[in-house]
Symmetry: C2
Subunit: 143 residues, 2 copies
DNA sequence: GTGCTTGCAAATTCTTTGCAACTTT
DNA sequence: AAAGTTGCAAAGAATTTGCAAGCAC
């Protein structure tokens, strides 16, 4: 389970493993789709009343810093949070239900470099996200 | 000049061609890099004192609606505005000076579809941006 | 006990809305 | 003259900060 790995990492980095933090971690780790800070807060508060939105923001910052989550562009904003994949992967997002899947994209890397060279640029990072409808939403299951 | 085309389009769509609007249009059309609403406002106010930030927001909305500009992910946010390219192009951005260039990316489209199919998704759009250092910034010119 | 965390309240920052005055056509 | 626009002030929304109390180790 991802949650346990994250708790371990936190601990290894000298961070305290507190109740609110665990609840938030677990919600993000288990989510199949990117969540906004507000959504995370709502889910966290449901599980464990009293958790503040501020704690959610601070936990997200910490997780981002430790490269366990990343910001994703979804529903018009780029502040939704999704767990980060191991290795170099990109995201495939369902515009309707939000379900997201990581995919390998190594084939592209070389092409990106070539394109950049043509313009005199030296690439340091890239942002690639595909949006569409997942199998269920195509069938109208989540309507 | 892009500005003139835009003014023409506005006019054709029944929009009034006002002074503030022209100033804002011109700033965005000429910019080599994505600008935040605040930056646009600062530049606009410098050229023509009295222009309100609200007008900038409203003009951006209109331009976006008419597909003349797009939101770009830059410097940690995705609300910076950059002119939109004709046809299907992607963006190459300098993380240091912000200079941006559009490039063709048709070769990727088919691959995107294939990847999506493997996961049962049907792609409707994608978001691809390459970030790095432009030629000048690599040489330390803009430091 | 020490020092990291938490939650509250307040402060900021960014964006949107209501409205009367003002332009463009 | 009619209708779209503008800028101001105010309202909202989202995020950050200060701080005393509370936990984890």
């Amino acid at each position: 389970m991802i949650t346990q790995q994250w708790v371990q990492s936190l601990s290894n980095n000298g961070c305290r493993v507190t109740k609110p933090r665990c609840v938030i971690l677990d919600i993000i780790a288990r989510s199949e789709r990117p969540l906004t800070p507000q959504e995370i807060h709502a889910l966290a508060a449901a599980k464990s009343p009293g958790i503040g939105l501020v704690t959610v923001y601070r936990t997200i910052d910490k997780l981002e810093e430790m490269e366990m989550v990343e910001r994703v562009h979804h529903t018009g904003q780029c502040q939704t949070i999704f767990r980060r994949a191991v290795g170099h992967k990109h995201l495939l997002i369902c515009t309707q239900c939000g379900r997201s899947v990581h995919f390998e994209g190594l084939e592209f890397e070389k092409e990106f470099q070539l394109i950049a060279q043509k313009h005199g640029f030296c690439i340091t990072s890239h942002w690639l996200q595909l949006s569409g409808l997942c199998a269920d939403c195509q069938k109208g299951k989540n309507t």
